[in-house]
């Protein structure tokens, strides 16, 4: 018999509501799956057995009293460890925050709890979300459930690996340059980055504030949409929070794509994309056309500059965002004779090499005499990227591309060359610069048995059409909720 840990949100909710499944059973199955996989995956930095069990018991008791807490009642959810959780260690994957216990919950975490979710634990990530493989974690890398010698992607690699492995039904990730979509692609799950401002960033430990966005990682498109319905919403504690209407994101699921205009981004679906990825991508595009979509190729000339702009803007913002880690009020302190020396030593000891590199890169790009040439110019390129998107969306409803140019790569294969690692984000970065939504849906497997992801992008606040197309891609592909080999036995396949 299959484990409840492998159910979708929709299935689990039905079971919980109908009394066929208890929150406690579901949680224990999730813990069992974690026991089975964690030694190899290291998807989690912290598993909160005690509080999760208490929450599950409370959910069951509430239900026994006829109270259904919310749309995530009893659902085991994992949180990327760059979102603060009250009284639960939050490290952002950095040694500089080893042992740090925040006094408050991130708004997105509060939303999950209010909807009845059970917080399983905190997942591994590249330190401060800077990376594409989780190899930059200050606590050791995570592995890909499809092949544990390979990376799960990053920076939300722990969240993607946990959802793929079934040690969480749903997870939250954060996406600054692809950090939800790329690991989802590499782990064969759905990962969605909402429109900037849709999910409050309050309590998300900032990497690059104008690019960061929290979003769901799940095993189905419907689960992602359902989770977004819970975590999206205006938050008065975030001045960049969207102040308009928040629709029901599942409303157009199952409508098909007949008559929708789909644009294939020329610059992101040719040179530089691995042939196997490209072939799976093309098949998925064909299936959309078969479903009645009007497919065309669209050129966005600024795309090739987007990566360069990103690698100036994100480090610049991070250089300021990470200045608060100074050994004064919380986190690591390495002693020094003066406060200046203490801070300089603390930061040297607490930050890993990639974070140090990006802080210095950003500091340089903002420093006297260089601002206009680097940061200022990058912001103008950002404008051009937005204009390119705006123009493209005049002719199409959604844009599509592969999510990642390659499938999961070997652990350690790219760590020595930062630039080669950055190039992995080439397809996902433009949406972050434009603040527009994007989603990765698994569509195939390469020759090495590794998942391939398909990216759909939509205009700002275009989540409904985004999910509509994603659901069709999911339905039309032969993916069919395929699970990694390591959990197949437990999955009962």
């Amino acid at each position: 018999m299959s484990s409840p840990a492998d159910l979708t949100l929709a299935e689990a909710s039905a079971g919980l509501r109908g009394g066929k499944l208890s929150a406690r059973e579901l949680l224990e199955a999730t813990f069992d799956r974690a026991s089975l996989t964690e030694a190899e995956l290291h998807a989690y930095l912290t598993i909160d057995h005690e509080n999760a069990r208490a929450a599950a018991a409370a959910a069951d008791e509430a239900q026994a009293n006829g109270l259904w807490v919310g749309p995530l009642h009893g659902i085991p959810v994992a949180i990327k460890d760059n979102m603060v959780t009250a009284a639960l260690q939050t490290t952002a994957g950095s040694q500089i925050l080893a042992g740090y216990v925040p006094p408050y919950d991130a708004t997105a975490v509060t939303a999950l709890k209010s909807a009845g979710a059970i917080i399983v634990g905190k997942t591994n990530l590249d330190e401060f979300a800077m990376g594409s493989s989780t190899e930059n974690s200050g606590y050791g890398p995570s592995a890909n459930p499809w092949d544990t010698t390979r990376v799960p992607g990053g920076s939300s690699g722990g969240s993607a690996a946990a959802v793929a492995a079934g040690s969480a039904m749903i997870a939250l990730g954060s996406d600054t340059g692809g950090s939800i979509r790329q690991p989802a692609s590499l782990c064969g799950v759905v990962g969605m980055k909402p429109t900037y401002g849709l999910v409050s960033r309050y309590g998300l430990i900032a990497f690059a504030s104008s690019l960061d966005q929290i979003g769901p990682i799940s095993r189905t498109v419907e689960d992602a949409a359902a989770t977004l319905e819970v975590i999206a919403g205006h938050d008065p504690l975030d001045a960049t929070s969207y102040r308009g209407e928040y629709p029901r994101y599942r409303s157009l699921l199952g409508e098909g794509v007949s008559g929708l205009r789909v644009g294939v981004v020329a610059e992101l679906s040719g040179a530089g994309i691995h042939p196997e990825v490209l072939s799976a991508f093309r098949s998925a595009v064909d299936s959309l056309a078969e479903g009645g979509a009007i497919v065309s190729e669209v050129s966005l000339p600024s795309m090739e500059y987007a990566l360069s702009a990103y690698y100036l803007i994100a480090p610049a913002e991070c250089s300021a965002n990470l200045a608060r880690f100074d050994g004064v009020r919380y986190g690591l302190r390495v002693d020094g004779a003066t406060v200046e020396e203490m801070t300089a030593r603390t930061r040297a000891a607490g930050f890993g090499p990639e974070v140090t590199r990006r802080i210095l890169l950003g500091t340089y790009a903002l420093s006297a005499g260089y601002y206009d040439a680097f940061y200022g110019q990058a912001q103008k390129v950002r404008t051009l990227v937005i204009q390119d998107f705006t123009r493209a969306y005049e002719g199409v409803d959604v844009l599509v591309s592969p999510t990642s140019p390659i499938t999961a790569f070997e652990l350690g294969s790219r760590t020595e060359d930062p630039l080669s690692m950055y190039l992995v984000d080439v397809c996902t970065i433009p949406s972050n610069l434009a603040g527009t939504p994007g989603i990765s849906v698994p569509v195939g497997i390469d020759g090495a048995g590794l998942p391939i992801g398909f990216q759909i992008m939509a205009p700002a606040l275009g989540e409904e059409v985004l999910f509509r197309v994603a659901a069709e891609v999911e339905r039309a592909s032969a993916w069919n909720n395929r699970r990694p080999p390591m959990v197949e036995a437990d999955h009962g396949v």
Partner: protein, 114 residues
Amino acid sequence: MGRRVCMESVRGAPTIGGMAIDIDIAYVARLARIDLSDEELERIGRQLGGILEHAALVQQLPTEGVEPTSHPLPMVNAFRPDRVVPPLERDTALTQAPQAEDGYFRVPPTLEAE
């Protein structure tokens, strides 16, 4: 002075490839307040040179008359009313402090006056 040379090369025509981007990495590390050894500085300086060469691509796009974007969506005037909300308990505020004393955060003496 090395930096002035660099600025000229940045403005000059060949903005990618072959461009020697000169970084006073020790100065940048002091600005960022990270205590790095000479060896580390040298290595990171080299890596940044490579990344910046790629990043300098941004200078190839003509951007005459293009406004910079610092915020992806057009929003203005997100304010809060002037209302007091209860602060943290002092013990909570201080509980994560590496060193605290008499209700204060404690640090080594400072070199610089503000």
